[in-house]
């Protein structure tokens, strides 16, 4: 299974085209926040940018705490999302250790589904779809 990874964030120019692409193409929204990948400066624009996105955990803490099955473990890391099951409880966002799940004003969660539709909109190849390493591979370096 492939996952989206921020592989070259040192090249990021802060254009937000990835977030806008995710919101537009996956969620049919104009937004830089309700998107699976979000770009933020940290401590002002002179310090560069960081990407907030799902790290494709396996097991995924957000899926583990989801009481309705709206978030289920995705084989190879990350989550499969069934929004119609979501009760808007927000547990997923609280469980994510890297704040990769964001909630909109109605409590609807947004997370990267590793589809890669944002990738062609990054002008500097900061993002890429890569093969996810299994837990075992990670554990053994």
């Amino acid at each position: 299974m492939k996952r989206l990874k921020a592989v070259r964030m040192e090249r990021c120019i802060g254009c937000h085209c990835c977030s806008l692409a995710c919101a537009r193409l996956v969620h049919q929204r104009l937004s830089w926040e309700t998107a699976g990948v979000r770009i933020q400066s940290s401590g002002g624009l002179s310090t560069g940018f960081q990407a907030r996105l799902c790290l494709a955990c396996d097991p995924a803490p957000c899926a583990q705490v989801c009481p309705t099955g709206a978030y289920r473990q995705r084989p190879g890391g990350g989550v499969l999302v069934k929004l119609d099951l979501c009760s808007r409880c927000g547990a997923c966002a609280k469980a994510c250790p890297v704040a990769a799940v964001t909630l909109d004003e109605t409590g609807r969660p947004y997370v990267c589904i590793h589809c890669g539709r944002c990738v062609p909109f990054c002008p500097h190849e900061c993002l890429a779809l890569v093969e996810n390493r299994t837990h075992q591979e990670v554990s053994h370096g």
Partner: protein, 582 residues
């Protein structure tokens, strides 16, 4: 989606009251330049001075803001302290998208705060006023760092506007710094903030908007994104950036040096775009919503003590700042130019006006018209130390000389002499000694800016001296720019956003009525801006042309003064016609 009216956040600083109102019609004004002038018509005080507390300070985005690439600019409408007439200034950064996601198409700020104040604007137009008397006197960078702690919400996405000491001291050309590297630069919008005791504005919108179903919008977006990234249409803006123009203009003998006493110098190699990139370029960054990344940031590494004690600064550079703080002052070392740019940033001055004003002062100093009793330090072309000290004196209005110079070069020249070599075309000149059409365009143009119309390009590409044709070009080019700056798109994208493309963009979002009358909208916006400019006191026939401009020699030879005067007369007539009451 497809609301016909604009959502405008009205803020009264005296009382702290605010409300969101529905205003105007997109099919009439589009937004940006059009919305700003419509709001000034409704809420401005054309006859009152710029610092009347009830004069509005207006920030407007447009109907396409955020919806397409490079629709990333904001228009500031205000009465300028420089000439006490209606003015516009444009800036990018993150402000346009932050305003879009705050849910406001425009913000109108009126009143004078009871004490130095920072204004916070959040999602849904939520307003918060914070007493920041302790920030008064702080420079732009220190203010930015402290603001991040004062407004912790929306960290990572906020847009931060702030002024420095120059705005507080009421210079004629204090700027508003936007997100560290962008500015509402020209004509003193920062001074208006200062007059309102408004030190800073923090915008932190996070609301999303529903997009239309179907493929039309996504296809249109993808095609425009492809054009601006995969073709070479805009490559130059990311590569060397606007600084790439330094060497060619110098080679064409059209680059102002040493207060326009020269138009070329072999020392260009020390401060060309290529040199800045090779010696200083740290990285590029972008306005939110634009994949180009035209903002070039240089690294200034300085040894501040013996052994290995270094400090570094990150300083934005572009063509115009290098002209104003480099060639005009005879500085031929990239590091020295960055040193000066950094100092001007801290004080919060428009770099072009500050640099050109100091260039005049250096020539006046060399001629003995002024002395150290006025300038406090020696001002000598090529010597950075004096200019660095003078920037602080200028930005803090340290004495009567600097106070006057801070109101505009011609104000100081009127008091001390040297009007013949004040490089002022309505305001301090931009970096183009290209000839008669540019001098006409900037001296009389709406913003007195090289961005009003491409007069500098006309000078370089058209060989004839047809007054009627040149003036028709200026009027038409201004009209087409009015359209883009009402959307609000970056002018770098003007080759991509033709009128049919803009119409398709609007139609893909459901604004078919506006998309169907773009020609009429642009004409109405152009005329409305001129009407307001004239109503606030502008007389294009009274704009002086200092003698220095008729002494210029470039690749075409000497300036043709009769042609220049004929152009100015004809363009003044065209402006009077455009601004005739409806």
């Amino acid at each position: 989606m497809a609301e016909s009216s604009f959502r405008v956040l009205m803020i009264q600083l005296e009382t702290g009251e605010s409300k969101l109102i529905d205003f105007g019609d997109r099919a009439q004004w589009l937004g940006g330049s059009g919305l700003a002038v419509a709001l000034y018509q409704a809420y401005g005080l054309p006859d009152a001075p710029y610092d009347d507390p009830q004069q509005p300070l207006i920030f407007a985005i447009g109907t396409l803001t955020g919806y397409f690439p490079l629709m990333s600019k904001v228009i500031c409408g205000f009465k300028s302290p420089y000439h006490n007439q209606y003015a516009e200034s444009h800036a990018g950064g993150r402000l346009a998208l932050a305003l879009r996601f705050s849910g406001c198409d425009a913000v109108v700020i009126r009143g004078r705060a009871p004490q130095p104040t920072a204004l916070g604007i959040g999602t849904g137009g939520a307003v918060r006023l914070v007493d920041v008397h302790y920030l008064w006197g702080e420079d732009v960078f220190a203010t930015g760092k402290l603001l991040r702690r004062i407004f912790p919400d929306d960290a990572g996405h906020r847009s931060m506007l702030r002024i420095g000491p120059a705005g507080e001291k009421q210079l004629g050309y204090a700027c508003i710094n936007v997100d560290t590297y962008r500015h509402f630069g020209r004509l003193g919008a920062g001074t208006v903030m200062g007059s309102k005791l408004l030190k800073a504005i923090v915008v932190g919108g996070e609301a999303g908007l529903q997009l239309p179903g179907g493929q039309a919008y996504n296809k249109q977006y993808a095609e425009i994104h492809r054009q601006v990234t995969a073709t070479n249409l805009l490559q130059k803006y990311h590569d060397l950036g606007t600084a790439e123009n330094l060497a060619p203009l110098n080679a064409a003998k059209a680059l102002p040096w040493r207060n326009l006493q020269q138009t070329s110098d072999p020392a260009i190699d020390g401060i060309s775009g290529e040199t800045f990139a090779a010696q200083t370029l740290l990285r590029q960054t972008a306005c939110a919503g634009c994949p180009i990344g035209c903002i070039h940031i240089g690294m200034l590494r300085e040894q501040f003590a013996g052994d290995s004690h270094f400090q570094y600064r990150e300083v934005g550079y572009d063509y115009e700042p290098i002209f104003a703080a480099g060639t005009m002052l005879g500085l031929t070392n990239a590091g020295e130019v960055l040193t000066l740019l950094d100092e001007v940033e801290k004080l919060g001055m428009d770099i072009m006006s500050a640099g050109v004003a100091l260039a005049w002062a250096a020539e006046a100093f060399s001629k003995g018209v002024i002395s150290e009793s006025e300038t406090l330090v020696p001002l000598v072309f090529g010597e950075v130390a004096g200019f660095k000290a003078a920037v602080v004196h200028l930005g803090t209005a340290a004495n009567e000389f600097y106070r006057l110079l801070g109101q505009g070069t011609l104000k100081a020249a009127a008091a001390y002499g040297g009007e013949d070599y004040a490089c002022v075309l309505g305001q301090e000149m931009a970096g183009y000694a290209t000839g008669e059409v540019f001098f006409t365009a900037q001296s009389l143009g709406f913003r007195h800016s090289h961005l009003d119309a491409a007069g500098y390009s006309y000078d370089q590409t058209q060989s004839g001296k047809d007054v009627e044709k040149a003036v028709a070009f200026l009027v038409e080019d201004e009209r087409s720019r009015c359209l883009l700056t009402s959307c609000v798109g970056c002018l770098f994208a003007r080759k991509v956003y033709s009128e049919p493309v803009l119409a398709e963009c609007l139609q893909s979002l459901g604004w078919s009525e506006a998309g169907g009358r773009l020609d009429a909208i642009s004409r109405e916006v152009q005329q409305a801006r001129w009407r307001m400019r004239l109503a606030t006191g502008y007389d294009p026939r009274q704009v002086p042309l200092p003698r220095r401009f008729s002494e210029v020699k470039n690749w075409k030879g000497e300036i043709d003064l009769p042609y220049l005067q004929a152009l100015r007369g004809a363009y003044a007539g065209a402006i009077e016609k455009l601004g005739r009451p409806a």
